[in-house]
């Protein structure tokens, strides 16, 4: 039985926001709602800047599910956490409970309209007929029913964001980590994309660039 999860490789994420755009486009997410977003720490600090793409993590013991007063959440056989928008009362408890800030509320109204909660569905739609217009309008595209993976993961240009069965993507990530080395060498171009057998290190200098000289310029 699959347990669908996301895994983001902080060494590879280049903060391009391609995943955010892919999600918005694929699911036609309304203005003001971001099912996925990229978080960056140490922005601009060379060697210390890290970015990860965050959305609903489809928790195995989901706090949103535990606190929902109307019990509108359910977990599919693949471990995807989904909810019924017809039942949601927009109370916001799930927003407070979620450690990732995944639940989103439309804010289109002049007075901070709350509305029904919206979140990442792992591109698995919701409790409507698969691939129907009603499902698309409420929850977005159901790519799993098309035999595809979430658009964000499939669109990721550096393959930093992996999506799929936890066991499978963990194996992919493990092999990647083993190949690229560790410790102080773990940053830069070759660390993230280095070919097998190549020594990890910083991005090679371009022909017009020269090595930095000591002292002030």
């Amino acid at each position: 039985m699959a347990r669908m999860k996301f895994l983001c490789d902080a060494e590879r994420c280049i903060e391009c926001n391609g995943c955010v755009t892919a999600c918005k486009n694929e699911n036609e997410v309304p203005w003001g709602v971001n099912r996925r977003r990229v978080v960056t720490i140490n922005d601009g600090v060379v060697g210390a800047e890290k970015s990860i793409s965050v959305a609903c993590m489809h928790c195995s013991d989901a706090p949103c599910m535990a606190v929902c007063p109307v019990d509108c959440f359910y977990r599919t056989d693949d471990g995807v956490v989904l909810h019924d928008k017809d039942l949601c009362i927009g109370c916001g408890y799930c927003f407070y409970a979620c450690p990732f800030g995944a639940p989103q509320f439309p804010q289109a109204g002049a007075f901070g309209l709350r509305g029904k909660m919206d979140k990442c569905t792992f591109c698995a739609g919701g409790p409507e007929a698969d691939r129907s217009e009603a499902e698309f309008k409420k929850y977005g595209r159901n790519r799993l029913s098309e035999g595809k993976l979430p658009a964000c993961a499939e669109m990721c240009s550096t393959k930093a964001l992996l999506g799929g069965d936890g066991d499978v993507i963990a194996d992919i990530y493990r092999e990647r980590v083993l190949r690229r080395g560790r410790g102080a060498d773990l940053w830069g171009w070759s660390a993230a994309y280095g070919l097998p057998g190549q020594k990890p290190g910083a991005q090679p200098l371009q022909p017009q660039q020269s090595a930095p000289t000591s002292g002030k310029s």
Partner: protein, 82 residues
Amino acid sequence: MKRLALIIAVLAFGLAACSEKSQVAEFKQGKYQGKPDSQSWANDPLPDEFRGGKWNKGDRTSWEESIKKRQLAQHEYRRIYQ
């Protein structure tokens, strides 16, 4: 003797009022109240031009194999170098 028994009974009754009832609510797992959802493998695969997976309708195992193949396509070491 009778008096002693009475004192003990009064004390026991009086101290019983000092006992504390547990105020921690017992957590009960919620039960989904919404509409039932269908399974991904209960659908027909898409035509070839849409580049979806291939599986037999209603067969979960074949759907899982198909989606696993798609997941492994994210493994660039195997996809490109082997």
